[in-house]
């Protein structure tokens, strides 16, 4: 009888510890969710054509965050980490949804796709201009202009050096200006490199 009591107590203690661990985990996730929900939602709204897809992408980003909560960095870096996840989720979303051709699929894979932005420009001029910007440069520019990240922060999201971001952003701005009729540079500056692999982690 006493043996049974001790066993029950032990199980109860284990359960309490498990509950405490879970509660702690959920507390952290809730904080993360409340703090960054709007940022991630805005990120998705800016890059998706259909508003209906936004909730799916947000859900997927935070599901990943929940599963990998131990990998999520603290404080401000958490948002950058979530942007990195959102970027990959969007890449997969777009690939799955639109069945890109082989060539496009290759480009998307090589850049870990920055999807076409959904813009509010009524004449479509800015959208057309942005489409002329290579994905890696465009995503760098949008992270700086829309997400208002510093070069160092954007570099963390895209997994490259701040200097590379600076060059990409500068190049993207030049291409947009050129598309708007401002004089282009005679010789293009160095292109954004293409990744040798993007496997599994944050792609460049």
């Amino acid at each position: 009888m006493n043996q049974h009591v001790r066993t029950d107590e032990r199980e109860e203690q284990q359960q309490v510890r498990a509950d405490d661990g879970y509660a702690q985990r959920e507390r952290r996730f809730r904080q993360l969710y409340e703090e960054h929900y709007l940022h991630i939602q805005a990120y998705a709204v800016r890059r998706l054509d259909e508003r209906a897809d936004v909730a799916d992408v947000v859900a997927e980003v935070f599901t990943t965050a929940w599963r990998r909560l131990d990998d999520v960095p603290p404080a401000a870096e958490a948002r950058l980490w979530l942007y990195g996840v959102a970027r990959r989720v969007l890449a997969g979303h777009r690939r799955g949804k639109e069945r890109f051709g082989r060539l496009i699929a290759r480009i998307e894979a090589s850049h870990v796709a920055a999807p076409q932005p959904a813009l509010g420009d009524t004449d479509g001029r800015l959208t057309r201009a942005l489409r002329q910007v290579p994905p890696a440069e465009r995503e760098a520019l949008l992270l700086v202009a829309w997400e208002q990240l510093s070069y160092a922060e954007a570099a963390q999201v895209l997994g490259c050096s701040p200097n590379a971001i600076g060059i990409r952003v500068h190049r993207a701005r030049s291409r947009v200006r050129e598309a708007f009729g401002e004089p282009p540079p005679e010789h293009p500056v160095r292109e954004t490199p293409m990744p040798a692999h993007t496997g599994g982690n944050h792609g460049r």
Partner: protein
Amino acid sequence: MDVDTVLRAHDPASRQPLPGPDSAEAIGIYQQIIGSARPKRKTARIRIVVGVTSGAVAALAVGLTLSSLPGGTHSAGTAIAHPGPSTTGGAPVVAVLTAKQVLDTAASAALSHPGAAPRPDQFVYTKVGDGGGHVAQTWLSVDGSRNGLMEAQGPGGTTTVLGCVDGKRQIRLPGYNGKPYTGPANPKAPVPLDGPVVTEPCTPQPAFLPGMPTTASAMPAYLAKTQGVRLNDVNDVAKVVGGMFQSDYLLPAQRAALYEFLATMPGLTLERNVKDVTGRPGIGVGWSFEGSTAVLIFDPSTYTLLGITTRGEHGQVGGGALLQMAITNQAGQQP
């Protein structure tokens, strides 16, 4: 045209009300994630039902195999510069009072360093720190014809910078035995980079610019023509010039000419007792833009450029520190 301002004016997220984390939609998503994960009595196992796609996305992560172009020789690399604070004497003895004096002194210092044009088959190696503990190493082809390499710590990994020969470059698609991948969009395992090789048009992008002028007076036209620099925008000029210092190999006279040209720009201020993003102390030439500031930071003894530090309107610090620059014979070779 200020591209960022145009973009912000057309920001889709600011053109519609977005539901906050306390909205029904947000709570629904939260419950979806957490609800099925909550432990039940007598079991602490956590199960997640929704959200398997992210794993599939990560698994998709197919990459790109890049064609091999002729490489350089296999001899050891040649170090040409190791930027960093000097602890020895021999520094220029100048009472620096203005930003212009810092840049003029940097120009004089640049001319005192040896420097010869690298061979076309070599690579410009740079090592740049971002202050967040990340260091990126880059090997860029001197003439743009060979495959270079970028290596970043953490997320990002290794990136090949494709070389360009006769206006063409080759890439290998994901696939198997020379055939392209035709499976589902979200494969469960990464697809090997063993598909067909295809050719695409390109423009060589050299890391050494033999055509760059060696006089300050010729520099504005060159920068506007080749880099698209807006000459009336000190922020644009300084950032492009700073970026070139961090990624391109410049001859001493080219370097000096860039500093001398920069010294003619209005809006630059002297910044004393500054540090680069890795904490190295220096003397700076700063400017401000759209509520933010940026500083080119020089070693206070040798006047070599240490890097650029930016500070956003909310105090966020960014930029990069040039830790090393060298010429190597191969991409990936340590100098």
